[in-house]
Symmetry: C5
Subunit: 374 residues, 5 copies
């Protein structure tokens, strides 16, 4: 009962659900007024140090180099595909050096460093610039996960990936190159880019599963014992899904443009694979919308359940009051001190009052029963 | 009365309506990180064994073979149309063997095995790959039905169908081939494909009818004796319809592409039939939307009915309290023990109180009557 | 007062608003599994017998034949326009005979018989097939009307109309042919088709008027004395409008295709007339949407009015309780039987209590007045 | 207090907001069944008599004729622009005569007379037919204004305007022609048409201002002292805006087609002016949508304010009841007449009860204060 | 406690949130009836005086002139770019003189002076006319900021900017020209225009940040101690966002047309920069929509929290009433003055009543505990 008595404003504050939405704009706002092309890292410093790794492969072999130095970067030889991964974006000069080495447009470099981008694709003639948002989640957190910006540059036989953290999103792709199984070593940079996009989108299914579990839990909670915390949970879920949507929706356009076959960098036989990953993205978007509908429905149930509870409470109050207030009137009546109240002196007066009381109570109970209240 | 007294959180949990939505993503999530084209069965194992059946027919005759072995599969001869049905997808190597026998693209095989696809169509040049979701329902279940993935491959004189279970969705089509009535034996693989799509979409009307019955029942319930279970029923219905929509909406695009006449695999004189089935799909989608509107309206009625009930209850309480509280005050007044209360000694004191009580009661009743409360 | 006391679940059930939506699918569902082109009448048997009438006219004369036999049907001569009306669809062989006489596609015949079609248009080369839904209403019914399928076949100098009932929707058109006034006898089959479509859409304005009257009545009811029946009325109106929308919305596309001038069957100088009827259809759709908005707004008013009523009730209860409970406490105080209660023996004790009671009552009334409660 | 006691159903009815929506369809409905091109005036008889005025002008001079007779109508000479205004539509034969004099299509004449048209534009080759809805408002009315149909026919050097009433919407345009300032006398009929459209749309800004004032008033009312009349006001405002939207929305399409430069009747140098008026129309539509959003928000505030009021009322009731019901129990306890109630005979019994009463009251007040109730 | 007792209608009025929306239309309305091209300043007089400044630069040098007189305006020489800024629009003749000096279309001048425009772009052949709305906010105001119209004229080597106030939105751009760093001095008028647009849009991120802070505050408030002021705050926020949306949404179209590469005034190598600013605009719009969703969700929480509070209050009332009303009945019973009430004379009568009272209280408490109420 303690928790009921504690004044509402003394309860511990709930976690603030939009926290994730703010820093991006705070940083964007801080950048306001700077000239275009200014290379400034906008985002959290997720990685301790900048790590560069390089994979060079053709059909016959694959070379892996970790912790490559800037001066060791070479352009890929003929027939070879080169995949360079930069993890950690807070050292602006590293990105700048890579940009000038591979002749990237200043605005592309600015976008790589500004980690608040929506997923997008830009065709700059010599290369494609693709922005994705990879989801990750701490195992112990109740959160539905946060997103990290993944920039992919796709050149004729070159793929650059820029990540904010040291997370190993592309471990599986590297493994496939190492093992040499499947098409990956036989195909060029476009197939590699496909593999990277596929790896990013595959992670969304894990988040969807987590979402589904949360929705199931909240549905049970709403149906059986809804509390004010439930509505907070629903709101948090909705806010999280709004956030997720912003990562997922633009993918539709990105992949639609990739599969349109406009860019000469994308070979014809990679298109079915991109169409497949496009289907996956549609699947994710579709499921998100389905969840939105279900979560909206949960709110209605919550509100109706609160109303029902009120009805239950009021029914109890009304039953008690309706039963005892008339009875108390009767007893109060014979508590009056008039000199001349003949009933008080009657022999069966007291029994008469008992009879009245019992009949009133029984009548009331019958009425309640008829109304379906008890 | 027992059910009223039982604390809310002890009631038995209701069936969880999103259960069906979860496994797909759970399995998709499990697949996360695997290379593209990995042949893994994603879905429930609905059939005990894999059964392959084959029908070969031309205008003059039709041959039916059940339980065909993989090595017995032959390509159809000239002028003949061959329809092979694979029921049960959990034995990946069977699908793989069929795929290599008919030279299907690895991604198509992957999609056939991943039974969480949305309906879609893909033109792979030599053949069309169509994904549909067939609805079925257990007769004794209160559910609106679950969906099974049906993959259809349409080649020049070949149709392959992959089903998850042994359910006989296409019994009617097979019968028509056997009897030789109608156009089916005279037409080619495109007309057969049309018949299969038509058979799948026809089943939706059965589900729509079931939905309509449920809606009628719930509307009666909402209008006459709404309970908290009613709102759960409405939510379950809505969730089921959200699920159904995901099966039905993409059909519009699938059939729109089929009827566009782009693919050379679809003959000119099959187009009117496909347009007809397109109309059926629009009809289903349209009806779904109508039901959505009606079910949304039911929620409003439910909530207003809960509010009305509260008003009814409060009216009773107010009438009783307003009637008896002033009366009890009066009687309580003459229950005071002051030495000098002249009324107590009056001859007509008691009668006066009776008169007061009756007048107060009558006045209150008149006021209530005027307000329309009684 | 009786109606208040009757338990809610014993009240007589309200008319079920979706009844109209169900039979269609029930019948469609019954058809599930049959081969395409199967000629089965899907719908209610609205007419007792099948009646065929034929009008043949050119600029100079017009011949009317009622109750034509199948064998008397002739194709129109050069320069003449022939309009054949079939009323009653339950005798499938009649429709079949007409179909084979005029060489109609089997799917068109199937659609004519399946009276659950949405309005649509199909160009079959030799003729156009147009499906409309005509509204009619029984004069004594409270319903907003039901719809009947009207199929129109427009050939070069031939118009066939298939109706479900004997209702005289096209009386006016026939009159105009008979009188020979206006353009109708000078123009061909396309102008006749226009006249028929115009006649069908004109009826919608009658229904709109009826809807407007209903909305006005319900608005008055909601504003002055809303009852739970009001919300049922609003829901019924909404459901009826959902049903009406399904008849009206597809007209936009039907008429847009007719006015596109693609079909050689539609002459250039008929286009302005078709554009005019297109405007009428848009007008109907537009008004429907306006009504939807207004009806949605009524629901909000209803709910707020229910809340206001609750507030009124609670105010009464609170005023009474707040006034008398403290007073009763005071009187109850001096009803205690303690030996030593000095006030009881005071000379002015009783007057003091009277003074206290009056002051409390006056103070309470002043507070209520300040709060605007009384 | 009188107003509180008057039963709800006896209050005076509020003005019915959809009245304006009804007559149109009632009249359309009355026309149902007539042949196309039937010239029947559909609308209210707003003007007493039909007045025809004519302005003929070229760059050097301008002639104004009031109350022109039908036989005095001449076609404009070369280089001159002729503007004829017909005010009052109830004399059908006048419109018919003008129609035959200027060779207007019968359907155009029908539409001019049927004053329930949505804004639209039709290109009839020789001339454009534009329908607009002009807003006007009585100064003393609380209404947001009603709309009148304005038909504009734009020929090569001829403009015809048909108005329902004698209102001087185009006074300003006539003044500009008279004064000869600006471009108007130098430009042709298309510029004149632009001026007329501009004059009609300019009036919408006056209505928008009026709407804004109403919204401000209602917002203040909702925020400070919402009454059931407030919700009626919001609903009336919404209904009025729905009505206004129907006048405004189709303008987007009308002006978009005018500015497309398709018609040879519109000269190249008039296009910027039409684009300007298009911007104005978008501005009006945009503001309407903004107001819709704000008004929707007001409803939420109203409902939450009603709920808050209920909470306030219930708090008062609960405080009073919770304070005095336990106290009354205590006093009632010592009002029992048992022979042996030792406390009654104690010396400090009465003081003990006083102490109990005070402590209970103080404890309750502390609890209320902690809960933030007082 | 004072604030609780003060009648609701005496509280101080809240700031009116739509104030900003009104003046524009009031002024537009005042202009109603004037001929097109009338140069009248529509808007607030934000600046005290009109200030004209001029910057002339090429790759090698840059000249800055403040407080330029009208007669000193020269057209830029070959190779030079000239940027003229006019701050303050209330002196119509200044704008008129500049208009005639640079041969601007009268409608463009009218739009520059009418500061109620939506963002738009117009291609007038010789120059582009771009309207933007710049946001600014007083540091001490609780408002989310107000908007000022910024008109930009982009000619071949000329940029004119018209501002309503003396605010230094473009300080940063001027600094970059002065310092000569970056591309700005090397590029032409199109790049300068890009810089100006970029500067305007960058300011939106500051407003977004402010919005995010407000939303966070309100979310905390809603979750912990919602008051009627909270809902007013939410409504004000929503109204402010509606206002902001009107500034931001049309930007999508403006920038989409700029990046389409249609105008020869925009050089090819400026396009990537414009696409970048287009991405920023999309980002702003996207975030606005996200905030809308979150704010809508807050309303639901607020309402459910109000309902929960009511439930809490009613629970307290019901517990107290249910506990004490039966007890008071019992005590009242033995307060009756019947001659023959045997219990009153019993030895253990009083103890019996004590036992009854305790048992009733304990039973009630157990029931409450089981129901989860305490």
């Amino acid at each position: 009962m303690a928790s009921k008595r504690r004044p509402f404003h003394l309860r511990k504050p709930r976690p603030r659900p939009v926290r994730k939405l703010v820093p991006a704009h705070r940083l964007m706002a801080a950048k306001s007024g700077l000239p275009p092309g200014s290379l400034i890292h906008v985002g959290d410093k997720l990685a301790d140090s900048v790590r560069i790794s390089m994979v060079t492969y053709d059909e016959s072999q694959a070379q892996f180099k970790e912790d490559v130095q800037l001066q060791d970067l070479t352009k890929p030889r003929n027939g070879e595909t080169c995949w360079i991964t930069i993890q950690g974006l807070h050292e602006v000069q590293v990105v700048e050096a890579i940009g000038s080495h591979f002749q990237l447009h200043p605005l592309v470099l600015e976008d790589i460093l500004n980690t608040t981008q929506r997923p997008k694709i830009e065709d700059l003639g010599d290369y494609l610039y693709i922005v994705l948002r990879a989801l990750h989640q701490e195992d112990d957190s109740a959160d539905i996960g946060s997103a990290e910006q993944v920039s992919v540059i796709v050149g004729p036989n070159l793929v650059l990936t820029f990540l904010e953290s040291h997370r190993a999103y592309f471990q599986g792709v590297a493994e496939r190159i190492r093992s040499g199984k499947g098409r990956i070593r036989k195909s060029g940079s476009d197939y590699l880019a496909y593999c990277l996009i596929d790896a990013v989108i595959d992670r969304y299914f894990v988040v969807l599963e987590r979402l589904a579990e949360r929705i199931e839990l909240l549905e049970d909670e709403v149906a059986t014992h809804p509390t004010p915390e439930t509505i907070q949970g629903i709101h948090k879920l909705k806010t999280g899904m709004v956030y997720l949507r912003r990562c997922v929706w633009p993918l539709r356009e990105v992949l639609s443009r990739l599969t349109s076959g406009e860019s000469p960098l994308i070979r014809q036989d990679t298109l079915p694979y991109l169409r497949d990953v496009y289907d996956h993205a549609i699947h994710v978007i579709d499921t998100m919308e389905t969840y939105r509908d279900i979560v909206s429905g949960m709110l209605d149930i919550y509100l109706s359940s609160v109303s029902n509870k009120l009805n239950e409470i009021m029914k109890v109050l009304t039953i008690i009051a309706t039963l005892f207030i008339p009875l108390t009137f009767v007893t109060s009546w014979y508590g009056m001190n008039f000199k001349t109240m003949p009933e008080l002196d009657w022999r069966w007066g007291y029994l008469m009052v008992i009879a009245i009381a019992v009949s009133v109570a029984v009548a009331m109970l019958i009425i309640f029963r008829r109304r379906g209240w008890i």
